[in-house]
Symmetry: C2
Subunit: 376 residues, 2 copies
């Protein structure tokens, strides 16, 4: 029993395009999931998120358990209703953000004890509690609790951390139990060590999950090392299940990873960059703070259909970014999310057209050529 | 020649409802104008501002002259195009904000020299330059430069300041000249002194403007004193021209002033309060930070059609306000602007139904009864 049906529609080399059918809607893959950290994709109304083409968003267990609290969200009718997003939601397990945001962490076999970065209150997250929180939230795709080892770590450290993560994965799956219409994904760890990644993939497969994520990447190892890990890992994952690369990434990371067989992505980059005056385009990122945009009547991207590109000049965007106006965050976030969805759509079409590799090559050439242009 | 045609549709006591017909659209009066300080009604897209029912917005000459600059906006096709608001725009003269925001002000007969609060650069604003800037912006209704005396001021200070404002009004009108499809409003000053207000109204009428504003109120004199000034001033203004009470105000101020014959209002209150977690309702303002909303599944206002009320609980709004999410500013601003427009619409209907006084009485009773409830 699985909470979804994963239909592969086209395959081109290692890349594939498909449909992830869930109770609350179908997600075309490869898919990019905007991050709705604390019950909001920042600076966007949910109907606007849907207008960008997003079919699923990610919610952060760590943030929601601290504020407003999982039990409270459950009493209020669960996360979809609370945040007015009726479509699918994937939640992480909270583990990654406990490591990066919480204070006074103490990891034991049982779980992790930490203090909230919001109010200092003590909390405890175990595999069982992580799954309980995600069930209370009503998440469509629930992630196992794992430990994210820092980069760089020695092989010995990674091996020890991986072993704990695999024991936690087993407990997470047991705690998830059998839930109609909800899915549970395991998370492959193992750092940059191919044999550990393979071991992790095999152990998770033996447990049996509805999908498989690859975690512990985009933490400083660099794109080449990340792609090597993907190439060493993906062959050991079931071809019939969705594969999710967690926390990735830049548009060129995403295209390269999708070409290697990844089906799902999430990243704060389009939303966070949007709030910082950065816009992504087919010709690379633009920094709207740059004075060269001050009298530019052209839109951000003449090929884009988002409100920022339809109705505003670069000069206006420059002005509102410089002035700290909220509309700058709203428009640039909307644009960036639209761009990420447009890239995914184009990639899926390329897979269907059996030209994913040449699409990726052309995309990267244009994207990187433009990027260097705006370094000033 | 005037930039508008003002049609009075109904009169009830001193109150009236009408239509201000302009090249870029018709504004139903009494009208509330949202403030779009620096080329944006904060936390709103312009199409959302229009959805609230707003038919005209206010732009601030002071902010726009400093950044991005009036000449730049003119080169970019003027303010309507720049900020994507095709409907009417009224601009102030910059005088009020020079007094409240700029540094090192020096007022002479010629004008006011000051330093920008943004970058410290020196600027000079004269009646002629204030009108030139508003012409460059393409403003539909342009305001004369005046001096706003602080409250409290002695009668002698007010009289001296008023005399300067009246000389500046004459120069402003001369600088405005004759412009097809644009209007120029004078501004009545005179503090809380009825005979000075009367003198100001008569001097402005002698110059001849397309509309008359009342300035220098809502600066600390209190509602009763403000209403007394309106009652002492309005009889000396042409009944056939629109009357605009600048910078006002709270919903109860607006209803009371409209009842006394004011046609136009502007205030940052609905937008600024929205960014601070405050929502206006028919039962008074609510502070969404208040813990009593934390598990309240009810909407902000069951009678309101804005997105905040249609799709979110008070519990969600409480959560996003407490979490500092941008969506809190977006939703509460949208709600507050909708509420202000709903109040104006209801007031206009009351004038048409010849029951403006009883509408105002009932409105104030409900509004003030609720207000005290949320003091906790």
């Amino acid at each position: 029993m699985s909470g979804h049906r994963f239909e592969i529609l086209a395959i081109d080399g290692a890349a594939r395009s498909g449909s992830l059918h869930m109770k609350r809607g179908t997600v075309s893959t490869p898919a990019f999931m905007p991050v709705g950290t604390a019950g909001s994709v920042k600076a966007m109304l949910p109907e606007s998120v849907a207008e960008t083409g997003a079919e699923i968003v990610l919610g952060n267990t760590y943030h929601l358990m601290l504020r407003p609290g999982a039990e409270r969200i459950a009493r209020l009718g669960a996360l979809h209703k609370f945040m007015n997003w009726p479509r699918p939601i994937l939640t992480d397990s909270g583990g990654f953000q406990v490591m990066s945001l919480a204070n006074l962490r103490k990891i034991t076999e049982e779980g992790v004890r930490f203090r909230s970065h919001v109010d200092g209150a003590e909390h405890f997250l175990s595999p069982e509690r992580a799954m309980e929180i995600q069930r209370l939230l009503g998440s469509d795709i629930q992630m196992v609790l794992d430990e994210c080892a820092p980069f760089p770590s020695t092989e010995g450290q990674i091996e020890k951390s991986l072993a704990l993560s695999m024991r936690w994965a087993k407990r997470s799956k047991a705690a998830f139990g059998e839930q109609e219409q909800h899915s549970c994904f395991g998370i492959v760890q193992g750092g940059v060590y191919p044999h550990l990644r393979r071991r992790s993939a095999e152990e998770l497969t033996a447990i049996g999950f509805d999908g498989y994520a690859i975690g512990g990447l985009a933490v400083g190892e660099g794109q080449a090392a990340m792609f090597e890990v993907l190439e060493a890992t993906i062959p050991h994952l079931s071809p019939n299940h969705p594969r999710y690369l967690m926390g990735v990434g830049k548009p060129d990371d995403i295209v390269g990873a999708a070409l290697r067989g990844i089906d799902m992505f999430d990243c704060v980059l389009p939303t966070r960059s949007g709030r910082n005056g950065q816009a992504f385009t087919w010709k690379g990122p633009l920094n709207l703070r740059n004075a060269r945009h001050a009298e530019d009547e052209a839109p951000l991207d003449a090929t884009c259909s988002c409100p920022a590109c339809r109705s505003y000049s670069r000069a206006y965007l420059h002005h509102v970014v410089k002035s700290g106006e909220i509309i700058a965050s709203m428009l640039l976030t909307w644009h960036n999310l639209t761009f990420f969805q447009d890239v995914m759509r184009a990639f899926r079409a390329a897979v269907a057209g059996k030209n994913a590799a040449s699409f990726a090559r052309n995309f990267l050439a244009d994207y990187r050529a433009g990027e260097s242009e705006d370094s000033g």
